[in-house]
Symmetry: C3
Subunit: 332 residues, 3 copies
């Protein structure tokens, strides 16, 4: 246990880049322990006492089912009581209050703020502003526009490591990312974490218009992650150890430009599934539209539903770590 005390504490969760390999390893270990404890009523009742003195705020200004419910259930698992605002029409912002006052109000009542906000970088900005007040609380970025979704990246890494646990881990694997890489915050956040795993290669498959952003590609070059860009999903499928599918983020279209694209060659069906290696896995951050045919769900390589449930467990681990009660769980 002693070496655990040398691992960095965690306060705000704002972007993937803040995570170190030891911290990823620790969160991985906590997540595994939480899952084991959750198999019995005794274990779940124990978990529910861990943060029974805390209250959290879920402030989700963009629509969300998964991330919202996943965080809410993670809070409940640890005994954190929650408030939620999902519809700003019922809040004081309609009376002309500034977003800063609204969020500082949350900080008056609760111990952690989990928020989704459409503006890139805003959660980070607000966390810095609130750090100057007498009662700073941790902020967790639950998705900041097309920018970042760090807890999604953490659960993705967890899922990859679990899937490859008998295959030497995530190291030396080839990860194919498919779809709207330009505006998909999940693939952006995930790529940042790949630098912690030696020998990982990336394949970015997207229509030219939606290829991965230059900032991420520069990052890969800087940290020596080899990557290729392509439009030929089927040709490259046989090389992938994991295929990470994403949907077109047309809510960020300016003029409906993504409607004009033929997206069908970036879809997984039972047909092109045959191109995939037997030990490969298919992931998706959800929600999906047509990227993965529903028939694929029955294939054992379809990992996305387990990935989704992993999100809840990973978020339990993150919350426990933030409040520095993770050793209570690990020592249980």
């Amino acid at each position: 246990m002693e070496n655990q005390q040398t691992i960095q504490p965690l306060f705000h969760v704002l972007k993937s880049q803040q995570f170190t390999r030891p911290l990823l390893d620790e969160l991985y270990e906590i997540t595994n322990k939480v899952r084991r404890l959750a198999k019995t009523k005794e274990g779940l009742d124990f978990l529910r006492t861990i943060l029974s003195d805390k209250r959290g705020m879920l402030y989700f200004v963009q629509p969300s089912t998964r991330t919202f419910l996943s965080f809410l259930n993670a809070c409940q698992i640890l005994g954190i009581q929650t408030s939620e605002i999902r519809d700003t029409n019922t809040s004081s912002e309609v009376k002309g209050e500034s977003i800063y006052d609204t969020i500082r109000t949350f900080c008056s009542y609760v111990d952690v703020v989990i928020m989704r906000y459409p503006k890139a970088g805003f959660v980070e900005e607000i966390a810095q502003v609130m750090d100057q007040t007498p009662r700073p609380v941790p902020f967790i970025n639950g998705g900041s526009g097309p920018d970042q979704h760090p807890t999604q990246a953490l659960l993705d890494i967890y899922t990859l490591r679990q899937s490859f646990k008998d295959l030497g881990g995530l190291e030396n694997k080839t990860i194919m990312m498919v779809g709207d890489l330009k505006r998909g915050r999940t693939v952006r956040s995930l790529t940042y974490l790949m630098k912690h795993f030696k020998g990982v290669k990336l394949i970015f498959v997207a229509p030219k218009y939606l290829q991965m952003g230059d900032d991420i590609k520069t990052f890969c070059q800087d940290v020596n992650i080899p990557f290729i860009e392509s439009e030929d999903m089927n040709g490259l499928l046989p090389e992938a150890d994991a295929v990470y599918m994403t949907r077109i983020q047309d809510e960020y279209d300016l003029n409906g430009e993504s409607k004009a694209l033929d997206y069908s060659k970036f879809h997984i069906t039972v047909d092109n599934l045959k191109l995939l290696k037997p030990a490969s896995i298919i992931m998706h951050p959800f929600p999906r539209r047509f990227e993965i045919n529903i028939e694929v769900d029955k294939d054992p390589r379809a990992m996305y539903w387990r990935q989704e449930r992993n999100g809840m467990w990973t978020r339990v681990a993150i919350l426990a770590k933030i409040f520095n009660v993770h050793n209570k769980i690990l020592n249980m």
Copy 2:
């Protein structure tokens, strides 16, 4: 206790027809015990430990106050923690996700899904689809369009039996159902349960256009429940042991057709109340409009407010039975 083990387990709650008399009797017994326990803080604190390891989802796509709040409070009584979606604008369906993926997502996080959905038969369909996944959870139908509302029927049966407990039970009683019998899911679900009580007679009072559906009338004939159809409420009131009032379900109108009807002769007021037997009771599933004048609330035969509260207790019993912890309650 031993004979309790022979009673069928309960998983999904989808429609009235699935309930047997022994199961109704068991739910009746659990409900009574829950009500007794709920009279003290000790009892309520005990109940709150019973399902403290469970989490539930309330997914209500149609407006609801009563059923929603009743289930939510039932969950809280048993310590079940809940998530809710009542406004689909805040969920991922706006991003083009299929309803199947949305609901399977709930199943990733929670242990029971309670849902109201406008499409007849849909809750049953979705339960079957989810039963094919690796993590099936119980589904509870909280109202499926004009089709069914099985937990309402269960609470109605509970209320009838409690009201007639010193009068020989529900057996041999005459139940009058009044109003929009065609599209009222509560009277439909309730009629299915009447076959378990010998000697019950039904009186269907409705404007011709809104009379009870043929499927239900055929059912009555098949299981030998005598019924009559009439438009003459006042003429038949003296024969009723229970009068079950319902409102016009004009949300299912295609062209405002129910607006043209004179509905006033299907109303209970302090005047025609005099026609009712002293030991009779008046019920209503709520919400009401003008079917029962508010002055009637003071009459001791007005049972609808108690019926409403019984709904919460009955739903506690249903949830305890589903998770097979009802004997913890019965043995307390």
Copy 3:
């Protein structure tokens, strides 16, 4: 402790006028004790057992962030489980149910109803109606249109007393109220409580059109609270021990009349802050717009954020008193 038993019990919380000085003193004492207990996990875990057998309804028909969240968190601190309706589109009112039936429905399921409603006097009216039913529950007025906001007044009194605790208490202080005094329910409710503190003087600063209502001014005369009316905030700032700022309540405008006013001379900035005594405090019920420049937040005399957090603690005390478990807290 014995003399505590002579203090009046508390059931409904409807308007400021119902509070006596002994009751204010008792709530003040409970609030202080709650804050002390809330400093440790043990204390918070203890508080969460206090009302773990109770369930509450938050029915907020007008937009609210602060009062809603403050009450919700207060409930959570005491272990009260909650239901909420903040958007009447998802409830049975859309099916034509009367507000009386809707609210009586809440009373069927829960033990306390906390409500915000736009109509003056309505919470009081509904509480009286429900008192005639077999299962009356306490109602708490969380803001009744432009009329009253009694729990805001209680938290304001708490904040004033805490701020002046080493300065002889609230007695003999000069309180300046600034802004929309005509339609600002917080200043109205607060003024009613001032009669319990000897020697308090009031300064009402507002544009003529928005000056304090005659009913409140008559009240002041009747109970011998000296007050002056003025438009000259800066000229009077040096006399104030507390400045209570409010925003223009333009949601009550009939024809946008308050848009025509020059409101800038009723604003606090770092400039006119210099006019204020070193030991004075600045309060605001929030939300704010431009009444207090954000730069003022850093001044030690800015008490509004602490005031906001005091709201949560005061509401814990109110709930504990209503359910007569406050002595459990005081004796802890």
